[in-house]
C-alpha cells in the first residue's frame, strides 16, 4: 500500500508526555476529517500504548518512546508505538483483560481498550529488547454521516 503521509517523533517515557502524544496523533489525524468519536478512539488507544511504555517498558528509568503515524491510502491510519525497554515475556497473557503487572494503579484493561477502539492491534516484543505496538483504524470521517 502506498504511504501517502506520515510523521515520526521520539520523546522520553515521562507521564507528562501522554497528553502530548495523543494530542499530536489527533492533530495529524485531523486531515482525514474524523468524527469526534473516531478522534476519541485514536486518542484513547495512543494513551494506552504510551502509558504501557512508561509503566512497563521502563519501570525504573526513563527511556525513549517512538511514535509513528502514517496514512495508508485515503482513509486508514496506522499508529506504531515502540520502546527499547524490558519487553513482554508472554504477549498473549498480557493482552488478556484484567492482566496486569502494574499493581493497584493499573486496571489491566489497556490492550482490551486498544483492541476495542482500533481495527487491528499487532504486538511484537522481545524480552530485554523492547516492544512494538502497531494499530490501524479505518476512518470513515464526517462525510459518512452526511
Amino acid at each position: 500500500m502506498k504511504e501517502d503521509n506520515g510523521v515520526k517523533m521520539e520523546f522520553p517515557s515521562r507521564s507528562a508526555n501522554e497528553s502530548f502524544a495523543r494530542g499530536a496523533v489527533a492533530s495529524f489525524a485531523a486531515q482525514l476529517d474524523p468524527t469526534l468519536d473516531e478522534l476519541s478512539d485514536l486518542k484513547t488507544a495512543v494513551s494506552e500504548a504510551v502509558t504501557n511504555c512508561i509503566v512497563h517498558a521502563y519501570p525504573d528509568a526513563v527511556g525513549p518512546v517512538t511514535l509513528r503515524v502514517r496514512l495508508l491510502g485515503s482513509d486508514v491510519i496506522q499508529i506504531a508505538v515502540r520502546d527499547k525497554g524490558r519487553g513482554i515475556d508472554n504477549v498473549e497473557a498480557a493482552r488478556q483483560p484484567l492482566f496486569t503487572t502494574g499493581g493497584a494503579e493499573r486496571s489491566g484493561m489497556g490492550f482490551t481498550i486498544m483492541e476495542s477502539f482500533m481495527d487491528s492491534v499487532r504486538v511484537r516484543s522481545r524480552p530485554g529488547k523492547g516492544t512494538s505496538v502497531t494499530m490501524t483504524k479505518h476512518i470513515r470521517g464526517k462525510g459518512a454521516l452526511r
Binding site: E18, S19, T44, S47, V55, E105
Partner: protein
C-alpha cells in the same frame, strides 16, 4: 485534572474536571482517598461531567474507590459521564459492578 468536593449528611460528591490519564491518576487517587477519609461517607458519587479525556488509568482509580467504599460498607456511583469516558467505561465492563449514568 481538578477535584472539588460537596458533602451533605453522609454523602460526598467529587466533581472531577480535566484529563484522567496515568499522569493524573496518582494525584486524583490521593484527593479521593483524603476526601473519603475525612467524610467517612455512606454514599460516594464521582461526577465526571467536567472530564475531557479518560483512559484505563481512570478505570483503576474507580475500582480503587469502589474497594474503599466497600470497606466502609458504603456505596459508589458514577454520574454525568461524557461520551469519551463512557466509551472507555463500556469497554471495561465496569458497569457490572458500579452504577453509571451518562451526561444528560
Amino acid at each position: 485534572m481538578g477535584v472539588s468536593i460537596a458533602k451533605k449528611d453522609r454523602k460526598v460528591i467529587f466533581f472531577i474536571t480535566g484529563e484522567i490519564d496515568h499522569h493524573a491518576a496518582a494525584p486524583l487517587m490521593r484527593r479521593l482517598e483524603n476526601g473519603i477519609d475525612d467524610a467517612m461517607p455512606r454514599d460516594c458519587v464521582l461526577d465526571l461531567g467536567g472530564v475531557t479525556f479518560m483512559d484505563s488509568s481512570g478505570i483503576a482509580v474507580i475500582l480503587r474507590t469502589y474497594r474503599l467504599m466497600n470497606a466502609l460498607e458504603g456505596r459508589l456511583w458514577i454520574e454525568n459521564v461524557p461520551a469519551q469516558p463512557m466509551r472507555v467505561l463500556e469497554a471495561s465492563g465496569i458497569e457490572r459492578l458500579i452504577g453509571i449514568t451518562a451526561c444528560t
